[in-house]
Symmetry: C2
DNA sequence: TGGTCATATTATGTATAACATAATAGTGAT
DNA sequence: ATCACTATTATGTTATACATAATATGACCA
């Protein structure tokens, strides 16, 4: 099962339009020429001659690559290959109003799994400064005003800091991407009402574990901290 | 911090091209008309009149929405709103040959976090049949031929089954999406050579925990099982 | 009446040509 | 040598015409 074989499987049928084929031809061309990030790709007119199709088709194919974040085009300079920020791409189709409810629920679960599972990366990369910053955030937390908008903002800033500590840019982008979804999910009655609103492990408790505990302990603490969210699912 | 406010933040500058603006106008239009999945959107010519731009621009904007999986277009019928399979969208820009190494490493970490963190969903939804299937897979595993292609395939089929048990379609799609990446990462020397090749917790051990243990135990067992992968990162 | 086939219609897909615009290169004057 | 102006280049936008596929229409026949 090689990479290429897997990719081929994704396009089994023959119902490709001309633009479809041209798109893959261009990607293939770029790969063959071993073009790296920053290199300029052939001009639109050159591509029309190379591939024998109209500029319209070339432009539509290039437009796709642009949307995918594979290239960027500038006037006169032409198009250059870019390093696609895949989550930025994703964010454009992540419109909560359009995604179906099942997917929204799935994404919510995905987030919970990530926050529980990223313990090792946090422990591997956390610094004393990070600990202090987390303590700072905790100290400014509002007390017991559960429904408050202010409370949610603090909730977000604490967890965002954890993602930042993981030092995984894709993970950070992913979280940023999910934020508007949760906002939507919370307001849309898609999930059950929380059974009770007390948090078993507080943010302060999590910081303690980060300071003195282990990844194992942190996973369990985080799982516990998120208990309310899990209860809303099961 | 509402959804809309967050979305607006993503487009701060004024460097939008005409197609950019038309794209958002169309999405806005669809939202205002409260169009749901399956509804047909205005024809290209109608949009040209509504928005006062050429059909080409309309088509390029619609092309973007197509790439994002928001609409599908059929001849004569026009374009209809679809429920975007966001990970299918993502897969198109997930070309391992184009993604930079940092992103590849990030995705690898993301996978590890997910597999450790999804314990609760597996436990919540696993059935006796699933257990039997896992046992079946384990029984067919090759012995100690670590480098073997055959071994990797069994590794994949075991872990794929776990994703399936999670009953989270987005999660499953995500894994499917990541498979070619790992293939690439493994072959590209991007990660360190594994320090030693023994697995601390075997697949059989994981199944035992699934049968008799708890989410907590499973998280630790899975973390242990993946030890080699973590060692390659740290 | 009811069904089947050819034809018209409709909306997307593709091709071509022309002009607009922005960025760069090049030229010339001081 | 520097600055300003112009020419050039490649993408951005518009307009038009034709191709193609899917559907609707309607005539025709049994």
């Amino acid at each position: 099962m090689t990479i290429t074989s897997i990719h081929q499987e994704e396009q089994p049928t023959e119902n490709h339009s001309l633009v479809d084929r041209v798109e893959t031809q261009i990607v293939e061309l770029l790969r063959q020429q071993k073009l790296k990030v920053g290199d300029v790709i052939p001009k639109e007119m050159e591509l029309t001659e190379m591939l024998g199709v109209s500029r319209t088709v070339i432009r539509e194919a290039l437009m796709r690559l642009k949307v995918m974040g594979l290239i960027e085009s500038k006037k006169r300079k032409g198009s250059v290959i870019t390093s696609p920020d895949i989550f930025n791409v994703l964010s454009k189709s992540m419109n909560p109003h359009i995604l179906d409810q099942e997917t929204l629920k799935d994404m919510f679960e995905l987030r919970l799994a990530l926050e529980v599972g990223m313990a090792d990366f946090i422990f591997q990369r956390i610094t004393p400064d990070d600990i202090n910053e987390l303590k700072e955030i905790v100290s400014k937390e509002p007390e017991a005003s559960e429904e408050d908008r202010f409370f949610i903002e603090h909730e977000i800033s604490f967890h965002s800091k954890l993602y930042e500590i993981s030092n995984n840019q894709s993970l950070k982008n992913f979280q940023k991407l999910l934020l508007p979804l949760f906002d939507y999910v919370h307001n849309s009655g898609l999930l059950k009402i929380p059974v009770n609103s007390l948090r078993y492990v507080s943010h302060k408790g999590l910081v303690d574990v980060l300071e003195n505990g282990s990844p194992e302990l942190f996973r369990n603490a985080m799982r516990n901290h998120l208990e309310n969210h899990f209860l809303r699912l099961f």
